[in-house]
Symmetry: C2
Subunit: 479 residues, 2 copies
């Protein structure tokens, strides 16, 4: 059967997962490399997915009262250096502009690796009183962080993201915002991308440069590695003090603001690929798929077939579906395999016999199953229902995979054995000492992904050092 035909050009996942990943990225035309290492081209099919993510998240941000702004791309080096931890974290990754026009600059400028410093400088100018608070700003942009090892969408010297930066009159409100935005990310992953996340707090050594607390959501890839997919930071008053962002509180006293920032990036595209894809290529969650239904005319040279295909396209478009007709001069078998490789959730086949019978055949990318649908006025809403079903099935499948790959280690030997044989997440009790994290990382390559404060301790000793341990921590190898 054509739709089960293996796509020869894509490496099988179990043969070489890294190769499979880049094969899919390029063959499905999600991206291409540019002449500068680590700077990729987001091709239409990849960018369209990012646009769906943007649309979904931007709406949520605005519903919660956030406003979009745009800050300059360049940051004076002196400004970046105002918060000590922050500059220490980012200085080694900066791209530096030293010439503007034909002249050497008086002060070097850094292409934003993130924009905390710019937001702080601006906030210090525009905030005077508690009446001016909160400020709930967000921006969509690209940032540059010089990376040595790069992979499409996962780690690049330039990537697209949104960065929210908010300031508040109270610690309580800022902490609430931090967790609220983590939940926006988590629910976006679930509702739009059909990806179940693990959420929690980062350890001291893994948190953001300058943050008091960093919360993260982590997705589990098919190869058992974790992917940090969105973070939300509580800054306390650290940046506010460094940048002198003060306000007159209700008691008429000067106080520093309480701050958050939160970001999610085109890494999410990498998560979609590696959570859902299979050996035939992409498998796209319907709500983020640029094309949800590919109509493939069978025997398209026969009179009426192409007309019917376009008529169906118009009908389904009017029903709010993202739909396309593949009217190229390729064979149906080729078109089936191509739609499959691109991960299009639903393929609609229509040929002379179907038209005669007033029906069409609909095939699901997820499992290859086929069903006959009547060509009536309800076709659009039936496909909507089918797409929702597919979304739920994809989420359930990914959730099962994730849950099967969370394992508990009571001893370090157990930890290492799990890591070597099965990968996935490893739950371990932890003493909260950086040294134990560092040892695990050095010995095994696994890192702490997050502290699960919502999980009951299942022991009271850290298996690494033997000291008392109160926290459940998830470890994993990660991208």
């Amino acid at each position: 059967m054509a739709n089960n035909k293996k796509n020869d050009a894509i490496t099988a996942r179990d043969v070489d997962f890294a190769k499979w990943y880049t094969d899919v990225c390029r063959k499905a035309e999600l991206m291409d490399y540019s002449g500068v290492k680590g700077f990729i081209i987001y091709r239409p099919y990849g960018y369209a997915m990012w646009e769906q993510i943007q649309k979904h998240m931007d709406k949520k941000f605005k519903e919660l009262g956030h406003e979009n702004v745009y800050m300059p791309m360049l940051i004076p080096q002196s400004l970046l250096q105002k918060e000590a931890d922050h500059v220490e974290g980012f200085a080694p990754e900066c791209a530096v502009v030293t010439k503007g026009g034909l002249d050497d600059l008086e002060e070097n400028l850094v292409i934003r690796p993130t924009s905390e410093t710019l937001f702080c400088e601006h906030y210090a100018k525009i905030v005077n009183s508690y009446r001016d608070l909160p400020k709930l700003y967000n921006q969509w942009c690209s940032v540059v962080r010089w990376e040595k090892t790069t992979r499409p969408f996962l780690r690049g010297s330039e990537f697209l993201w949104q960065e929210g930066h908010t300031i508040h009159a109270t610690e309580e409100e800022a902490r609430k915002e931090t967790l609220q935005m983590l939940e926006v990310y988590r629910s976006t992953a679930q509702d739009l991308l059909a990806i179940p996340m693990v959420t929690g707090r980062k350890t001291e050594s893994e948190k953001f440069a300058g943050a008091e607390e960093t919360y993260t959501m982590e997705a589990l890839m098919h190869d058992g590695k974790a992917l940090q997919s969105g973070t939300s930071h509580y800054f306390g008053q650290g940046f506010a003090k460094a940048f002198d962002v003060k306000f007159l509180n209700k008691d008429n006293k000067q106080e520093y603001v309480y701050q958050t920032s939160w970001g999610a990036s085109t890494r999410l595209l990498g998560a979609i690929i590696m959570v859902h894809g299979d050996d035939n290529g992409l498998v796209l969650p319907p709500r983020v798929a640029p094309i949800q239904v590919m109509i493939v005319p069978v025997m398209q040279h026969k009179e009426g077939v192409l007309d019917k295909a376009y008529e169906l396209e118009a009908q389904l478009k009017a029903a709010g579906l993202r739909v396309k007709v593949d009217a190229s001069d390729k064979t149906p078998g080729y078109k089936f395999a191509d739609a499959e490789m691109r991960g299009i959730p639903v393929r609609l086949e229509i040929g002379p016999k179907d038209i005669e019978k007033g029906q069409c055949v609909i095939a699901k990318r997820l499992d290859g199953s086929k069903e006959t649908y009547a060509l009536d006025d309800d076709l659009g809403s039936k496909i909507h229902t089918l797409l929702d079903q597919i979304h739920d099935e994809m989420y359930a499948k990914a959730l099962k995979f994730r849950d099967e790959n969370i394992r508990t280690a009571h001893t370090y030997d157990e930890f290492k054995e799990i890591l070597e044989t099965k990968a996935g997440y490893i739950r371990m009790m932890w003493c909260e000492d950086d040294a134990c994290e560092a040892k695990i990382k050095e010995d095994t390559g696994a890192t702490s992904r997050c502290i699960k404060e919502d999980e009951e301790p299942f022991g009271d000793v850290c298996p690494i050092c033997g000291k008392p341990a109160k926290k459940v921590v998830y470890f994993a190898k990660a991208y």
Copy 2:
């Protein structure tokens, strides 16, 4: 009357138009300056207008078959140098990255001043046959051009824009695309921004670096200066030859593609401000206004007033209007002046007496006129109708101003006299010699804005040199 109160902090237009402009930009919180000259902060109220423009244009682009992509922010210097005219035009304006991470780069990288070179390099890789054509790509991003003299929105070292880059199998198709996109810009200006444009072709000396032909739309500001507000370029095969972008045509022969590019930027915000604004501040065209209706409760401490205001807000939001309640602790008079300064098209006043009578008062920002509206289910649709009326009135007013400020010069003396006393556009017959343009520019500061090939010649001699002239050209002082 409060709504006629002059806003003291804004300089009158006739006293100092440049000062008026920056006063409005800052007081209405459209932008703020950053620590780097020429790099501005787009504040929420300014950015929200850009978002409206993006939404409107992006929809049109997609309806015409264009797809969005994202190209890298950095261009290797060697790539930028491949097309001779292009590099000559842009090299003096480039911001150059010489360090990445902690190392000096082997090759300097330029922050994109525009992305023709990147698109060409990519197209060369992905296009093989006429079946791959056309490629109709667009990207939304910011670009950097080092400018010595900068003004918010009008000329900055960084600005936001979209750049469309298309390639075609035939010259005819590419030429059609060039004009089609100019028309998209022109109609966007008319339908969304209520700005009448003058459109035409740029002279050789004013065209884009590397283009065969540049088409432009020009808006006329209140001070009689023109503002280039969007351009569309036909490249022929120039870039294709420099970057080797070839395809196998239907006759099975290798041929270079025919190319276009077109861009519109946040300059359009400058046009909105300077075309429509008055001495009290902004006057925003309703379709681009971030807030279309500001509800001002009168005697808001009285029971039921604020509730009614929020109830109306919900009703009007549900009717698809962008609406806000000003529930701050300021006086109604202050709120009226503030809404006026921010250019909000319609103010809705609601107080205890209005509620009693089941009515509200609606004031138009454009002319200060007030009318009473019944508080019934039709209020939303009535305000929609009113906003459409306001749009039409604003367009008609701007069109009248534009048309009154197009004057014809038969002699150079006449030209200079018009320029000194009245400004605006000056129509002149032109010999097509760069030298005459250059002389005008040197003598008067006015530049050719565009060749009006759709206008009948009204003479046959160039007033500058006395040689034969066939082209009607519009000159003006310009931003």
